[in-house]
């Protein structure tokens, strides 16, 4: 008995091989993507850990304060393995002759690797007195720098040539982020240079600071020790204490790792949901078309559970074949993704292991998807009443007027055919529910990701067009004096220039401390907008504006006091929080320049110049002309930062694009399933209407209307869910690095609804073609109308 059913199973599969192959391919993709992304996540995590271990990366980096006291104190703390110091300075550098940019010079000892935060020499050799600098690999690649080349560093007495010893990679700067505020660097404008300590010692003291690097013994309570050292550092005047996890590079890569982790769940979930949906559609139609056969089997003595198992096997078969191909493919993909990702980011160490546990989880996922999707159709087959099934009749369901007709009595005067449409919506509650849920899911999926794209585009535009209004920023070789600013402003193509103070700052409240940059602008500045509670407001004459995330992180509110430490200009003061500014990227503090000057004891704290271009000025020409000025030490193109930010969103857009396509596919599959069932259930009615003289066109129109009505019912909750999910999705990514407020363009709602309706209309095309082809005579004969 069972073997005959297996033969039937095999033949049914062969008969519908193209549909089953499509389902299997979807499962293969789902499992392979799961394996690929999850293995990549594990491999990348292992790669980073391996690199951190190999290069003895600092577990804690402390900046500022009483360095000697901190070193001595930290050495005595239980769990600390090693402590060392180094000098770090952000100074203008010049590469390839005339390209001026900001370089972060990181001091390394003469004669050998530091004990902590070592550098992996990728080419050339370790720096010495004759060739005192080692270029970080991203900068080296961008400017095609190699051992033997020369860069210029702005020293106390002007530009000094420094020979390059080689190219290196650092675990601390796996991703060369300038700070947590500027996590996306422009390689044109910022780079890392490892420099012999003697070179750093010769630099002007302004801008240079000493860091204490600490490593922990293995097995210690990292979080506990982090907190202990942070408190200790703070008590000794440190401006910043950064655990390994919070290093800008590490924080940026962690965002990517979380992305991989989420993708490893989201992608397979979506693909398996799509595969499950397709299997469900396929089997529902199969059971529907085999009602007569099922009735005969059961009338002939086949047990319900045998029939149930028979149809369940279709789903399991697709799952097993899908998993058999998908799991090994996933292992392979994991290795490829790991290599490609580490290659793209130039991460030197790469673990590319295929994990057996990942493959096994993938197989379980596939089996669950296959079994779950086949469950409902199999149960439906097992529950068929043999006599009814053998007649091929499908129960039509009960009638009744709809609530909307009761609420809107004039609808009672609609023509009968439109009443049929209205009532057809609620005719089969299960089908209505499944369609509405499907539409809700699809709309949610589309709006969630489309909304995220909207938000990011809008917020990038807000950051780079509305908040940051400057076209460029230049660092000067000296102070940003009024004369220096006037010289910049007088340059051809410059419309407006302002002196701005951009200084490292430590902000402390009673509950926390945050290290960022303090920006001092003219009170009447036109180069920066301060968005407080949605309004563009001027800088306060006293007090400071803080980034919104500090409201929570420092536990302060407007009117509270915070302690401000600006070591570069010897400011230690208490300021009132005048407001919180909404800025998508980074978390800064703002103060008026006159106020900052007063706090600095009258000394000019401005160290940079922001400027805008005159209409028609070409950014590249402006870069060249301004860089050529002797007073200019480094140049930052603000629009290049925007382009860079958009470029880094590429992967995210690709991810979201796939989600959008899947959303459409899901809508298509679900609606197709519903309409198929709808028409199959009504073949006799449709034939009767056709026999009665109702045209095919009218019937198609009636079915289409019912379908669109069902779709629209699902659209409204779908839009609500989509909004909530997009809000949640963005909030997950929000931190002091990025603050993604949800902004969905009105057109996105409209396009989402249109996309779903188009999916609904397209999905019913095959069914409507079936209506067009419906042979009334055949139905009359087969069903004995």
């Amino acid at each position: 008995m069972v073997s005959i059913l297996h033969r039937k199973l095999w033949r049914d599969l062969r008969l519908r091989r193209s549909q089953f192959v499509a389902v299997i391919i979807t499962i293969v993709l789902g499992i392979a993507l799961f394996g690929g992304t999850y293995d990549a996540y594990q491999n990348l995590t292992d790669s980073y850990h391996q690199l951190f271990a190999n290069l003895n990366t600092a577990d804690m980096t402390i900046a500022g304060g009483q360095t000697d006291a901190i070193v001595q104190g930290v050495k005595g703390v239980s769990g600390v393995a090693d402590v060392t110091t180094r000098i770090v300075a952000d100074v203008p550098v010049q590469v390839n002759g005339d390209h001026k940019m900001l370089g972060r010079l990181v001091g390394i000892p003469s004669g050998g690797q530091p004990s902590i935060d070592q550098v992996d020499i990728l080419s050339g050799s370790y720096p010495d007195v004759s060739a005192p600098v080692l270029i970080e690999q991203h900068m080296a690649q961008h400017f095609d720098l190699k051992a033997g080349d020369t860069i210029q560093v702005l020293g106390t007495n002007g530009w000094v040539d420094e020979k390059i010893a080689g190219v290196g990679a650092s675990a601390e700067y796996l991703w060369p982020a300038e700070s947590r505020q500027q996590i996306i660097p422009s390689f044109d404008d910022f780079g890392i240079v490892f420099a012999d300590e003697s070179l750093l010692a010769a630099l002007p003291s302004t801008g240079a600071h000493t860091e204490v690097l600490v490593t922990y013994k293995s097995g210690v309570d990292t979080k506990g020790l982090d907190q202990l050292l942070e408190d200790f550092a703070k008590n000794n005047g440190a401006t910043n204490a950064t655990p390994l996890a919070d290093l800008p590079s590490n924080a940026a890569l962690s965002e990517d790792l979380s992305g991989f982790q989420e993708m490893s769940l989201m992608f397979p979930l979506l693909f398996l949901a799509a595969a499950g949906m397709a299997t469900y559609v396929l089997l529902t139609r199969l059971v529907l078309s085999q009602r007569g056969q099922v009735g005969l089997l059961m009338a002939s003595g086949f047990r319900k559970r045998t029939v149930f198992a028979h149809y369940l096997e279709f789903g399991l078969f697709a799952a097993i074949v899908g998993a058999a191909f998908g799991a090994p493919l996933g292992g392979l993909l994991g290795s490829v993704i790991s290599k490609m990702y580490t290659g793209a980011l130039s991460i030197p160490a790469t673990v590319t292991t295929a994990h057996l546990s990942t493959a096994l989880i993938g197989v379980v996922f596939a089996l669950m998807a296959g079994a779950l999707s086949a469950l409902a159709p199999s149960m439906r087959a097992a529950k068929l009443v043999p006599a009814q099934a053998m007649r091929g009749l499908i129960p039509a369901g009960k009638g009744g007027s709809t609530w909307i007709e009761r609420v809107v009595p004039p609808l009672g005067r609609l023509p009968a055919r439109w009443k049929a449409v209205l009532r057809g919506v609620g005719r089969n509650r299960n089908r209505t529910l499944s369609t509405v849920i499907g539409v809700v899911l699809a709309v949610t999926l589309i709006l969630t990701f489309w909304g995220m794209i909207d938000s990011i585009q809008v917020l990038l535009s807000r950051q780079f067009d509305q908040v940051n209004r400057q076209n460029a920023q230049v660092y000067l070789t000296g102070q940003a004096t009024p004369d220096a600013v006037a010289e910049i402003a007088a340059e051809s193509g410059v419309a407006h220039a302002e002196a701005v103070a951009d200084l490292p700052v430590s902000i402390q409240s009673t509950t926390g401390q945050y290290h960022t940059e303090l920006l001092g602008f003219r009170p009447d500045t036109t180069l920066h907008s301060f968005i407080v509670k949605g309004h563009d407001v001027p800088l306060p004459s006293s007090g400071v504006y803080l980034g919104t995330s500090l409201e929570k992180d420092l536990g302060v509110k407007v009117g509270d006091s915070v302690t401000i430490d600006v070591p570069d200009v010897n400011i230690h003061t208490t300021q009132t929080v005048a407001g919180f500014v909404s800025e998508p990227l980074g978390t800064y503090a703002y103060i008026s320049l006159p106020e900052l000057t007063t706090l600095a004891g009258g000394a000019n704290p401005a160290n940079t110049v922001y400027l805008t271009y005159a209409p028609g000025a070409q950014p590249e020409t402006m870069r060249n002309e301004l860089s050529a000025l002797p007073a200019v030490g480094a140049f930052v193109d603000s629009q290049a930062l925007k382009s860079m930010a958009q470029q880094f969103m590429g992967l995210f857009y690709a991810f979201v694009g796939v989600m959008l396509a899947l959303g459409g596919l899901m809508a298509f599959a679900l609606i197709y399933n519903t309409i198929s069932a709808n028409v199959a259930e009504r073949a006799s009615e449709v034939a009767m209407m056709r026999a009665g003289g109702i045209s095919r066109h009218t019937i198609s129109r009636l079915l289409t209307s019912e379908n669109v009505l069902l779709t629209l019912i699902g659209v409204i909750p779908g839009l609500l869910f989509g909004y909530v999910f997009a809000y949640y999705g963005l909030s997950v990514y929000s931190s002091d690095l990025f603050k993604w407020d949800l902004y969905i363009r009105p057109t996105t709602y409209v396009f989402t609804v249109i996309a779903i309706i188009i999916a609904a209309l397209l999905s019913q095309r095959p069914v409507l073609r079936a209506v067009q082809r419906l042979d009334v005579a055949t139905v009359v004969r087969e069903r004995s109308l």
């Binding site: 009960k398 009638g399 009968a416 056709r690 005579a777 069903r783 004995s784 109308l785």
Partner: protein, 234 residues
């Protein structure tokens, strides 16, 4: 005047050696107001004959004229138009739309030909179901549903009513009620009724009884005194 005029009507399914000749050169003429019963075993061509006359199927050869309209060479759209105004169908399974009331099921067809609410109510009244107008099919008995189906077919006031096994799924008493209504359509409304069945007992009700065998008319017998529905036993 002949409402139906068939000349050598033939219907063949398939081609070559596997071809099935469902109807082989049938000649048949029916008058207005006649009540004709077509009898025959399964596969004799009863339903094919009904489908050809109703314009559901196209004859392979021969000529079919209904109510003065030649169905030969009509395309599907033209036959749809023809069915809309000239034919009413009643099938074994009533195929009422479950989400519409009895009255609305009738209106569905009435609206096709511009008939109004009162026409639909009259049609229901004619089959004795005016008081059940607001009931949904699920609330009606099998006989009542079939009578709604008759009203639905009649509301267009077609000259020809084609009925396929109307009592096939009804018990004797209910079947008699339905047959009474059908007979009245011919006697009272002067419409031609062509009833197809394999139930020989119903043959006694026909003005004429056409017997089909293997796609050919085996006999046409006139009943001098057609039986009333209440006299029919099966």
């Amino acid at each position: 005047m002949n409402v139906i005029d068939l000349h050598s009507a033939t219907r063949t399914f398939g081609e070559g050696p596997t071809a099935v000749r469902a109807l082989r050169g049938v000649d048949l003429q029916l008058d207005q107001g006649e009540f004709i019963v077509v009898l025959g075993p399964s596969g004799s061509g009863k339903t094919t004959l009904l489908n050809l006359i109703g314009g559901i199927e196209e004859a392979t050869s021969g000529r079919i004229v209904v109510d003065g309209i030649d169905l030969t060479n009509m395309d599907e759209d033209e036959r749809t138009e023809f069915r809309r105004s000239h034919v009413g169908f009643v099938f074994q399974f009533f195929n009422l739309i479950p989400t519409l009331t009895a009255l609305e099921n009738v209106q569905l067809m009435a609206e096709l030909v511009g008939k109004n609410h009162d026409d639909s109510l009259s049609a229901l009244d004619a089959v004795g179901l005016a008081d059940r107008a607001d009931h949904f099919p699920g609330m009606l008995s099998g006989g009542e549903q079939q009578r709604v189906a008759i009203a639905r077919a009649l509301v267009k006031k077609p000259p020809l009513l084609l009925v396929d096994e109307p009592t096939g799924s009804l018990d004797l008493d209910t079947g008699r009620q339905v047959l009474t209504q059908l007979r009245a359509v011919a006697d009272r409304d002067r419409r031609t009724v062509l009833l197809v069945t394999h139930n020989a007992a119903i043959g006694g009700m026909g003005d004429r009884v056409v017997r089909l065998h293997s796609g050919e008319i085996a006999s046409i017998v006139s009943n001098e005194r057609p039986l009333g529905a209440e006299e029919v036993e099966w």
